[in-house]
Structure formats: structure tokens, C-alpha cells
């Protein structure tokens, strides 16, 4: 290595380039994925929304076109019937005038249950209070969680927590502020589902049921699960088993799984191309090592005459090969990660200047996870060993006399 710095550098560069490309490709793949995924981010990715509609067939003495209704009972039954359900919440939505002192505005009032926070990925920082809880539900408390947008409009710079706002002339105490929908044009006010049932005269009814699923990994499994829920509800509500349109269902989970599958395929190709680039670099190293060993035949001969065992020779060549691949590979990896970080920073600055409107992102946060980096390092070490091994075997077989004769 010491004798031929230029050659060592050029060889190393091939590997550095290979791993650089691998990192950039994987990072870009991830960036694309994160960008698309951020558009899913409104709601949990494994969410299902169901709502009652009108029947389209007569059944068990009921006439066609009967308006269906969901109640708390359906929520309880679904939850106990399907272990695949992770979180579940009833949902009642109305428009309402919300006011504090001189300020007021027309916002969405959403009556939801505590688990809705996770279904809709709401974000409440520790300084911003809490979300609705079971006690709020049981006591039908008049408490509200405001979205950041609403809090900003009504309270300006004042702290909203603990203050009383009026929603359609009913007083509610603010217990939390959600930051997730900060960029949303609409403002949201979350109140306990039970309270909403009371003030909107819904009895035990609910407009929608939101739920998330767990343990379903394929599109088919998700769609099948959606159908099971629909048929269960049809049975409970005495609807004709063939009356599919009677229960509305939006299955984001199956869309999500489908998108994920597309990305798995893209990722696989990206990884494949990246590895091919890397292999080119490794073959380069192997090639150079063969030449190096040939040039150093004399040196190995001398060392053998002085008592170097085959193991000594093998080890020194493998070590050299591994040192070149790992050190240059590491350099390439660092450069690749560095570039991705720069791109990431640049995107952030551009994105931060937006006017608060939700814009559709195609590329976001291009990064590679630590697992891939570790895998790449492992590949480099193995590559170094492989690239060095064949020439090393050759070097070991050198006869000292022949070697020392070689000029």
C-alpha cells in the first residue's frame, strides 16, 4: 500500500464511488417514499372509516331505503368481535361558532373518543395539555381540545389552556391544543363523543366509526377484513346480506398496503442497482490486487525465505484488501450521507417558506436508516475479503526461489 499511493487511491475510489451511489440511490428512494407517505399522514395509515347509509333492498319485513343508524352498541360489538381492531372511535361532526371574548369563528366540531387521537395522529405537546379521556366521556364533560389554528385565532398570544370558550353558546373548558393540523385551512374542535351526542340530540348514535387495524399485512387481508366488518354490521342492523351499499366503508389500510408494496419493489430495484455498482468496484479491487500480488512476488519470496508462513502472507494481503475497501467505502458512505443531509436541509428551507397551505410533497427527508448503513459496511468487509482472497491464494503458492529470481 505504501509503495503505490496513486494506485491504492484509484482502486479505493471505485469502491468509494460504488458505496456513494448505493447510499444516494437508497436515500433518494427513501426520500420519494417519505414524500408520498407524508401525504398519507393526515390519518393513520391503517385506518378504516365506516358510516351508515340507506338500505337498497327490503329484508325481514323492513322496506327498502331505510335509513340506518350506528350507536355505541355497534362500537362495542365490533371491538369485542374483532381482535384485529387496534383503536376505535365514534365520530360526530357538526359546524359550530366558537368564540372567546371578542374573537369568534366558524369551525368543525368533532365529537370523538379518546382513541381518536391515535387514529388521526393528533399531536399534543406536553406543554399543550392533554387529549380527551375516559372520565370526560363518562361524565359528559364540557371540555374541548382546539387545533392550533383555532387557538391562534381566538387567543392570539394568550395561553388558551384552562380558559372557557363558547361553542354555539355552550361553555367549554380548553384542556388541550393539537399541533398536527396546524397547516390545515380548517380549524377543529374536539369534544367528548358522549357530550356531542347530548348537545346534538343524537342519543347513543354516532355518524361514523373510525378504527385502525393491526396484524394485516397484505392488500387482500385488509380488503377481506373490511368486508367482514360490513357483513357483521349488516347482520346486527338486520340488513340484507347482499345489500353491500348499505354500509359505507373507506379502507385506507388497503391503499396503504398497496402503496407500500410498490415502494418495496422500487426499493428492491434501487438496492439491486446500487449493489451492482458496488460489485463493479469490488471486481476492480480484486483485479488490482492480482496485479499487486504479481508485482510483489519478490517481496513475498523474501518474506517466505525469512520464515513467513502461508498464513502470514494470506493475512497481510487480506488485511490490505479489507483496509482499502472499508476505509474508502466508509469515505464514500460518509460523502453520500453528507450529500443527502444537504439535500434534506435545502428541502426543509424551501418547504418552511410556504404560506401554510398543505402542499403535496413528492420528495421529503431523504435518508438511509442505520440498518442499511451497517449492512453496507458488512458488505464492504466481506467484499474486501473476497477481492483479496483469490490473489492471496496465488501469493501463498509462490516458491521463494522463483520469486527472488523475478526481477
Amino acid at each position: 500500500m505504501r509503495e503505490n499511493k496513486l494506485r491504492t487511491f484509484l482502486t479505493g475510489f471505485a469502491v468509494a464511488w460504488g458505496i456513494f451511489m448505493l447510499i444516494i440511490l437508497l436515500g433518494s428512494g427513501n426520500g420519494l417514499k417519505n414524500g408520498i407517505m407524508s401525504n398519507f399522514n393526515d390519518r393513520a395509515t391503517n385506518m378504516i372509516n365506516i358510516w351508515p347509509r340507506h338500505t337498497t333492498m327490503p329484508y325481514k319485513g323492513f322496506k327498502s331505503d331505510r335509513a340506518l343508524n350506528f350507536t355505541n352498541d355497534e362500537i362495542t360489538i365490533l371491538k369485542s368481535h374483532f381482535p384485529q381492531i387496534d383503536k376505535i372511535s365514534g365520530y360526530i361532526e357538526r359546524q359550530g361558532v366558537v368564540s372567546y371574548k371578542q374573537e369568534s369563528g366558524n369551525y368543525n366540531i368533532e365529537g370523538v373518543m379518546p382513541e381518536y387521537k391515535d387514529i388521526n395522529n393528533l399531536k399534543i405537546y406536553t406543554d399543550d395539555g392533554r387529549f380527551l379521556n375516559q372520565i370526560d366521556m363518562q361524565q359528559k364533560r364540557k371540555v374541548v381540545v382546539l387545533s392550533k389554528k383555532v387557538a391562534d385565532v381566538l387567543f392570539k398570544k394568550e395561553n388558551a389552556l384552562g380558559k372557557i370558550v363558547s361553542i354555539d353558546s355552550i361553555s367549554f373548558q380548553v384542556v388541550g391544543i393539537d399541533t398536527k393540523t396546524a397547516n390545515d385551512e380548517n380549524g377543529y374542535c374536539y369534544i367528548p363523543h358522549s357530550t356531542a351526542q347530548t348537545i346534538y340530540n343524537r342519543g347513543t348514535g354516532t355518524d361514523n366509526i373510525y378504527l385502525t387495524v393491526k396484524g394485516l399485512y397484505t392488500k387482500d387481508a385488509n380488503e377481506d377484513f373490511g368486508k367482514q366488518i360490513q357483513s357483521t354490521l349488516r347482520r346486527i342492523l338486520d340488513v340484507n346480506p347482499d345489500d353491500t351499499p348499505a354500509i359505507g366503508l373507506w379502507n385506507q389500510a388497503s391503499e396503504y398496503v398497496q402503496t407500500m408494496n410498490i415502494f418495496s419493489t422500487i426499493n428492491f430495484f434501487v438496492l439491486f442497482i446500487g449493489l451492482c455498482t458496488l460489485v463493479a468496484g469490488i471486481v476492480g479491487i480484486g483485479n488490482i490486487m492480482v496485479i499487486t500480488v504479481k508485482e510483489r512476488t519478490r517481496e513475498f519470496g523474501i518474506k517466505k525465505a525469512l520464515g513467513a508462513t502461508p498464513k502470514n502472507i494470506l493475512f497481510s494481503i487480506l488485511l490490505e484488501s479489507v483496509v482499502i475497501t472499508t476505509s474508502f467505502g466508509y469515505l464514500g458512505m460518509m460523502l453520500g450521507i453528507g450529500l443527502l443531509e444537504l439535500i434534506s436541509k435545502a428541502l426543509e428551507t424551501v418547504g418552511g417558506g410556504g404560506d401554510g397551505k398543505q402542499n403535496v410533497q413528492v420528495f421529503k427527508d431523504p435518508s438511509v436508516d442505520i440498518g442499511i448503513v451497517l449492512l453496507a459496511t458488512l458488505i464492504l468487509i466481506i467484499a474486501g475479503l473476497v477481492a483479496g482472497y483469490i490473489p492471496a491464494r496465488k501469493a501463498v503458492k509462490i516458491k521463494p526461489i522463483e520469486a527472488m529470481r523475478a526481477e
Binding site: G301, A305, L306, G307, T309, P310, N312, I401
Partner: protein, 223 residues
Amino acid sequence: MIKFEQIHKTYPGAQPLHVLKGIDMNIEEGEFVSIMGASGSGKSTMLNILGILDDYDSGDYYLDGKLIKNLSETKAAEYRNHMIGFVFQSFNLITFKNALENVALPLYYQGVTRKKRQIMAMEYLDKMGLKDWWHHFPNELSGGQKQRIAIARALIAKPKVILADEPTGALDSVMTNEVMDILSKVNASGITLIVVTHEKSVADQTKRIIHLKDGIIESDSNN
């Protein structure tokens, strides 16, 4: 110390070359022997066999009482490292290592620690009068200096036998005498020394001369 019994060696090829045709030889501990012969007489081959750098086809070779036959590469390396020191015509120093590192190399293969290696290598360089040159690389040294470094390297592992292949072949007469003086002193310290040469003047400085011709010993006389 060294015993050859009917050693035969043939190089295979389109026309097999029968180089050694039954060599019998006995060299005792502490002897200073030169092996002479024209090129093609088999003296280099003999040196390679002596140095366990090459194997032979039939016969027996004993070195310090041990039969040297069909050894594994690892075992051969170990014997070379502990029992034999080499001095070559073309010095065979490693060009990208300095004088100190070159001398210390055999100890590296014995697993001696770096610090101890350097101390011992310095000691042997000092014996050769090259202490001040320890950090020089081979291409910065004269032929005589290079050969003295090679001798220091051959001695550092405290071998039983030193094999010198035309040790003065690349040196002028002044340096030749210098190197031969050193080799005499080495022999005086009790180490068996075998010199392969075609120069009469060099052979004359040894105590026993073996003449090879066409693969057999032509004459063997004390000097």
C-alpha cells in the same frame, strides 16, 4: 549439522533436467564451507534444498538431526525462520522498509513484540557498524552497506546455519573483503557457514571447498 544422503533432483519439463545426481555430504557444526562450480553444475539447486526453499526427489536431508522431507509450508517456514539465515547476491532487502525494519523482519514472524524487535535489530545494526543508518531505505545505501544489513537480518534469529549465495557477487573488491571479514567473524562465533560462489578468491577464504560438476561432487578438500 548437515547431512545429505543420495540427494537427487530433477526439474520436470519437456526435457527433464537431472540436476543433482546423488549427492552425499556431511557438514559439521561450526564449519566454514564453500561450494564451487560452473553455472549449471547444480550449486544453486543444492543451496535451495539446503535452505528448504525447494524440495528434492529422493534421498534424505538431515538438518540439525531433523529429517527435512515432505514438510508442510508452515513447518518449512518455521525451520527456515529458526535454523537458517540467508544472504543473497542481490541482497533481497524489502525496498519500502528501512534498515531497522528489514533487520527486524525475521523476529516479526517469530511473534516477538515490536519494542523488543527494534531493540534487537538496533543491536545487530550496531554490530555491523550501521547504527546511524537505521532509518535509511535500501536505495539510499551502498552495496556493501546493503549486504551488511542482509547479514544482520540473517543473524538476528540466531540461526544454526547461514547460507550465502554469491554474497560478494555484486560488490567491488574492497567491499568483498569487508563482507568476507564479517562472515569469518560470524563463523568464528560458532555458526556454520556455507557460501556458494564461483570466485576462487572468495572460496580461498573458507576452510573447506566442495567442487560440484554436472550434479555430482567432484572434489571435497580442506583449505
